[in-house]
Symmetry: C2
Subunit: 204 residues, 2 copies
């Protein structure tokens, strides 16, 4: 997705330690028009030939933006996993644990069991695919619900952190995994390139 | 906004203690089409006659959804205040404290000083106007930045918690405050009605 790659090149700031700051357009300040295009691009790449998507699943907070615009493109509801329990969370929840790379803490994702069922055909959408920890937790929740996983989409992939391999090992069956941009690192340099769309298969 | 009110009446669940659960369409599972309409409705009500809106400001997590669709309608960038610091937050930040009613804890909002300046004309958007604590903290951040506050919009207002009065006391000058739906409580009953748009003035 060329417009995204140009924005990353223009506005990304490298902090070292393979961390690229994109908070001017993606995950603090947000370019609303670009985010709309991102949702359309993710849905185009992951649109199933068969049964339509019924739910887009993500985790709060930064995943909410591309997940909402993808759900608008798919014309379905979206769910964002909560990271803490509030007073209003009185129902039964699926839970799964993840580790945040940039926050260095463990978090638990909560999804109300009423909203994800075996009848659902789900796209998982996140802003980053890095270590794969958050997406793995979301795949785990889809599996707990007995729902169908139709695809996984991310805005930016960091192939050096091998999240794609982590997720592949967990997949119950082949599943398309799409990123719109890839970032590579080499000492003090970084490059932004076109993302990848590949059907990942469970490894033996 | 009639479609919103009908959805609240159909899907809202009353938990007692003046708490109405709307997590099937607003703040856990999200109706993406309704959220698009909400953004357009908030922008229509708050669109300034003069200088255009340059930023929509909200706080993570549940405010992100109506703020993003409002920013799409206003064709500008949005900012969501972060609630915790991550490794990538290396710049200078405006901060303000708020108290969550449903989580019963204090939170600090962080906004990068690069993204909000005296040149900005800002709409604050949140999902709920209840005690007014979150919106007050966001007004405080707009004031710290020396930016212009063009209006405040919320999806659901709970007038019994007097947040509108709390915010009014803090306003530096008259400011339109819009809600799309109001919820009232009376013992074990609740009603959802049309929201309010009123220019609030700083009280003496």
């Amino acid at each position: 997705m060329q417009k995204l790659i140009e924005t990353i090149r223009a506005e990304g700031r490298y902090l070292g330690d393979s961390i690229l700051k994109v908070d001017s357009f993606l995950n603090h300040q947000v370019d609303a028009g670009l985010m709309t295009d991102i949702g359309q691009a993710l849905f185009e790449r992951l649109k199933p030939a068969g049964a339509p998507i019924t739910k887009v699943l993500t985790a709060e907070a930064s995943g909410i933006l591309p997940a909402l615009t993808t759900a608008v493109a798919a014309d379905c509801r979206m769910i964002y996993a909560r990271k803490s329990r509030s007073k209003t969370m009185v129902d039964s929840f699926y839970t799964a644990d993840a580790v945040s790379r940039t926050r260095a803490n463990a978090v638990t994702f909560y999804v109300n069991q009423q909203f994800l069922t075996p009848e659902d055909n789900v796209l998982i959408i996140e802003d980053f695919l890095a270590t794969g920890s958050s997406i793995s937790a979301l795949v785990n929740i889809v599996q707990q619900a007995g729902a169908q996983l139709a695809g996984i989409g991310t805005v930016i992939e960091k192939p050096s952190e091998k999240g794609r391999e982590v997720i592949s090992r967990q997949l119950p069956q082949p599943c398309p995994v799409a990123s719109l941009a890839c970032i590579g690192f080499d000492d003090d340099n970084w490059v932004a390139e076109l993302g990848r769309l590949q059907v990942e298969r469970p490894s033996a």
